[in-house]
Each structure stands twice: as C-alpha cells, then as structure tokens.
C-alpha cells in the first residue's frame, strides 16, 4: 500500500507538470510512408540525473518532418552506446532502419555540456561483412559545447544535419513560427506570439485589446511586420523580435494590410485602400516612400514576393472572383495564374520559385492547394475545414496553415506532397495566421 501510494504520488507529479509545448503536434496522416530510422537515447556521462535528453528532440523532429519514422527505443538491438566503436553491426542485421543516430552528453567546465553525436549508415553496415573499417560507416559526426539553455536548440541542429545528410534537403528544424492567439474571454484578447517551429519556447511579442493580423517575417528572421488595430484603424507595424522596437510603417485611411517583406528586407509589399479600392503597393521601410503596383476597381490584395523580388503574386477580383495573378513591378504587366476551382487566393511562392501555395475554394470548401507554375498542375493538399493563411517552411517541404477543428481555430501542417498531415492543438483561445520564419 505504501509503494502504491508512492507510485500514485509520482504519477500525480508527472500529471501536474505543466506541458512545455504550447502547441502539441498530433500527426494525423502519413506515418506509413515515412522512412525508418533509429535514434539511440544519448548516453549521459555525468553524475546525477541527465539535465535533458537531447535525442528526444531529434526523434520528435524527424517524426514531425513526415520524412522519417524513428523506431521505438525498446526495439533497438543496442542501447547505451554513443559511438561507432561500440557499434556491433551483427546485432543490427534485422533492423529495418536506414541510419542510426547516437551520441553522448558529458559535463563541461563552466556549467556547460559537451554533446557529441554520430550518424551511422546502417544500410552500408548491413551490406558489408568486414567490420574492421567501422569508421567508413560514419556519415557525419560532430562535437559541440552548449549551455543548459541550448539543449533543444542543439537538438534541432542535430536534426538539421541528419535530415540534410539523408535527404539532400536542408532541415528546417531550427526555425520559428509567428501566429496570433485570440481569446475572447480575456480583456485584451489579441496576442502576437512566436515559438520554435515545434511550439516550444512560446513568447508573447504584443498584446492588444484590438485585432492583430498578418504577421510576416523579415528575411533575416529578426523582425516581424503585422497589422494592428490598436488605434481603432488598421496600421502596419514592423517590430524587432529581440529589441521589441516598433516602427509604424503605414497608417493611411482605410485598409493598411497584408504586409510582406521583400527578399532584400528593405521594402514591404502591402495593401492600401486610401485611393478607394484595395490596391497593392510597395513601401520603402526606411523612407516610407510608396509606389502603387496595381490599379483596378476590383479588390487587389495579398501580395507575395517571387524570390527574385521583381514580381508579386497577388489575389485579384478583376475577373469577377478572387484568383491569383502575377504582376511585374517594373512594367505593371499582369497575368492570371489560376483558373481551376471557384476561388484561388492567399497565395505564396515556394522557396525554389517553382510552385505556388494558396487557398482554393471548390464546391464551397476552402482548402490549401499547390500549383506547379510550369505545368499548371493543381493539387489540393488538405481536407480540413475553413483552411486559410498557408505559410511555407524555408526548405519548401511543409506548409503550416490555419484551419478549424472541433469549432476552434487551430494550426495544422501538411507536407508539400499532401501525404503527411499534422495538427497543432492548443489550450486557450483561437490560433490563427501562422507565419514560418526563414532559416535562423
């Protein structure tokens, strides 16, 4: 009974510990297609309990990428090893994984930690019988000194290395997301938040009794542009996420909306309705000089820069219904890009410049879609409800977007091929307008 009581107490303690992740990701589809990988828990070489298990971060990252499926820790033939020297290839013959991640953490002078890891080619190990040349199996190995506060950050760094070595694509695990949380039961319901891409380290940047909208990152990942109604009208601000310094960029009559940084970070493309209808403009952040890009009596809005900074993708209603157009800044020449479905709006360009991601309305349903710019092939990626505000990861593999789940606005993610789907549920309030940061 005494033992039972102790266990109960332990259980209660665990249950009552606050969840660290503000946005806890639930993978809803696509685990079957992922590539198996083995992540051995990193070995702690100090005294007392380990400060934090860095390999947990790596496992979560790889699973959330949708590309990899980390094997259950208990199914691994070898544990408690941290380098290829201890690796016994014979034991791993039946393991379906293509690679093994292992490492160690040991105390380092000055309250720091030495973290080392190795990425081992398991396919190669299973093919070659000669175990003499073990070092050949190492795809990558690194050693770094970190502080206690950097465990999660370095875990993401390891994930980036593993992901890039195995896929050839740069990992986007060391990135952030900005989003708006609205809790109408609070006196000041609108909050602009940023968090690590996985929802950890959530920080509030701004809180307001009036709506906050459309956060968008500067290319250096240090500033956010957004819309605030704090003065009972729409105004565009730029805020430094480190210094908290805020600059009001536009405050014209009518709409001041949809700001997006130019690739060089010096200008914002945005929507102003000061001359009547909503039109797309480009404003120089330093001089505040504005240049009108569109000129039509219908709605023109939602600008997004093509990677070369010479043209914009916009939503225009000039054809009767909202559709996506490309407008060139120098000539003002405009051409329609989307024709499929009732509406296509809220578009952005993938980092490689080859596809566009947008909101498609077909049969009254709003979902996230992708279109190849060359072939014009369009694919609807999601099947959730009332999807909006898609934002592409800087490596172009994943889209984060706002959707509705069980009557609440939540964030969700979908891979660029539509196979992997995840949801990011939250506790209080509605979560909307996600924006994925550049590489940090």
């Amino acid at each position: 009974m005494k033992i039972f009581g102790k266990w109960l107490l332990a259980g209660l303690l665990i249950c009552s510990m606050p969840a660290k992740a503000a946005l806890d990701i639930v993978i809803t589809e696509g685990v079957d297609a992922a590539r198996p990988i083995a992540v051995i828990p990193f070995v702690w070489q100090g005294t007392g309990p380990m400060p934090s298990q860095i390999s947990d971060v790596v496992m979560s990252d790889l699973a959330r990428s949708g590309t990899f499926s980390p094997a259950d820790e208990l199914s691994l033939p070898q544990r408690n090893i941290s380098s290829v020297a201890q690796f016994n290839a014979d034991a791993w013959m039946a393991q379906p994984a293509e690679a093994v991640v292992m490492g160690s953490i040991k105390p380092y002078p000055g309250d720091k930690y030495l973290v080392s890891f190795e990425l081992i080619d398991l396919v190669k190990a299973q093919l070659q019988s000669d175990t003499a040349s073990k070092q050949d199996l190492v795809i990558d190995s690194r050693e770094t000194v970190i502080s206690a506060a950097q465990f999660r950050q370095y875990g993401h760094r390891i994930s980036d290395v593993v992901y890039e070595k195995l896929t050839g694509i740069r990992g986007a695990f060391l990135t952030r997301i900005a989003y708006v949380v609205v809790n109408h039961s609070e006196k000041s319901p609108y909050k602009l938040m940023i968090a690590d891409y996985d929802g950890y380290n959530e920080q509030m940047l701004l809180r307001s009794p009036e709506p906050l909208m459309s956060p968008s990152w500067s290319p250096d990942g240090q500033r956010l542009a957004y819309v605030s109604f704090e003065n009972r009208k729409a105004e565009v601000y730029v805020q430094n996420i480190y210094t908290q310094q805020r600059t009001k960029v536009t405050s014209f009559d009518g709409i001041n909306g949809a700001p997006v940084f130019s690739p060089d970070g010096k200008k914002l493309a945005l929507t102003l309705s000061k001359d009547g209808q909503p039109e797309v403009y480009v404003v120089d952040i330093a001089t505040k000089a504005i240049k009108r890009v569109t000129n039509h009596y219908a709605i023109d809005t939602e600008p997004s820069w093509f990677p070369d900074g010479k043209s914009l993708l916009i939503t225009s209603e000039r054809g009767g219904r909202p559709q996506l157009y490309r407008v060139y800044l120098d000539s003002g020449k405009i051409s329609r890009l989307t024709f499929e479905g009732e509406w296509n709006l809220g578009g952005s360009i993938t980092p490689d410049g080859r596809s566009i991601i947008f909101v498609n309305r077909t049969n009254g349903k709003f979902n996230i879609a992708r279109m190849d710019l060359e072939t014009r092939f369009m694919q609807v990626l999601t099947s959730t409800r009332l999807d909006e505000s898609p934002s592409v990861a800087p490596n172009g593999t994943m889209v984060i977007y706002g959707t509705t789940y069980q009557g609440k606005q939540v964030l969700a993610a979908v891979s660029m091929d539509g196979r992997f789907k995840a949801r990011l549920p939250v506790g209080q309030g509605e979560v909307k307008s996600p924006s994925w940061s550049p590489f940090l």
Partner: protein, 179 residues
C-alpha cells in the same frame, strides 16, 4: 349615441394602430417603444365598455429621443455571402439613421465592416470595407456629409457568432453603425 362615439373613436384608433404596425420592422423592437407611440384601447371585463384614446402630440425633443432609442437598437445591417449590396430589408433602418444624421450634422458615426470566417483574412478585410462603404454610400445618398462618417473594416477578426455554422456566418456578415 354611445355606439356612435365608439365608432368615431375606432376611426381614429385603427389607422394609428395600422401605422404603428407598419413602422415596427423588426422583432427586436420592444413593446415599450410601440406602446408610447400608439394609442391604447382597453376592454373592461365586466360590463363590455371600451375606452379609446389618441397618441399624445410629441414635442420635437421627444421625437428625437424616440428616434435615438430606435437607432441604438437597430444598428446592424446584414449582408449575403460575398455580397456588399444593402438589402431592401434594411432600407428603413438606414433611413432612420440617415434622417438623424442629416438633422444632426455634428453627430459622427463609425461604420464597421465585418465578414464571415470563410476565405482568407486579407480578402475578408477587403470585403468588410466594401460593405462599410456600401452603407456609407447609402447614407451619403440621403444627404449625410462624408465628414460625419468614418469607416473601419475588421474583416473576420471580430465575429459576433463563434459557431461557424451557416447561421453564425450570416450573423457575422454585417456592417455596424457605432455613434
């Protein structure tokens, strides 16, 4: 003779009742307003005698007060999906506001435009502004000075109904007159 008197009284009362019935365009109008506007007739349960009366002649101040009350109750105009034209249904409400604003050139009104949660937040900001402008244009057509009106679009950011059903969407597609 008594019957004749009653008949005469009815002649006065009935048209007034009919007028007041016409003027109550919405269910949200309360009984308090209509009872002060129209005359009342009551029936005594025992001896079958009925009395009649006419509405008091209202002073301009009283009229203004009543109109003000009415304005404060009906200040939301609803719109169809992806539409920004003012429906005939709301013409009377807007006429009441327009009259009031024309008579009181010092009074200013803020017209808020709102959209339902379908579509993107940015597109809905544009749609909300278009709705607010449609209301402003209607009022301007009645002679309200542009300087009396200001416009703000909140798009889908300030829904009135959070159910995300068709009924909820309908309640959120609105323009709100704020004095």
């Amino acid at each position: 003779m008594d019957l004749n008197k009653l008949f005469k009284a009815m002649l006065v009362v009935l048209p007034i009742m009919a007028i007041s019935a016409c003027s109550s365009t919405s269910e949200s109008e309360t009984d308090a307003t209509s009872s002060t506007e129209s005359s009342s007739s009551s029936e005594y349960a025992n001896n079958g005698v009925e009395t009649g009366g006419v509405a008091p002649v209202l002073t301009p101040e009283e009229q203004q007060r009543l109109k003000y009350q009415e304005l404060r109750k009906e200040h939301i105009i609803y719109f169809d999906f992806d539409r920004s034209s003012v429906s005939q249904q709301f013409a009377e409400v807007l006429n009441a506001h327009g009259d009031y604003l024309v008579e009181h050139p010092n009074v200013r009104v803020m017209i808020e435009g709102h959209a339902d949660e379908r579509g993107t937040p940015e597109y809905n900001i544009a749609l909300g502004e278009r709705r607010a402008k449609a209301v402003a244009k209607y009022l301007q057509g009645m002679g309200v000075q542009p300087s009396q009106m200001s416009i703000v679009s909140y798009g889908e950011e300030k829904p009135m109904d959070f159910t995300r059903t068709d009924e909820g969407f309908a309640k959120n597609r609105r323009a709100v007159l704020v004095y």
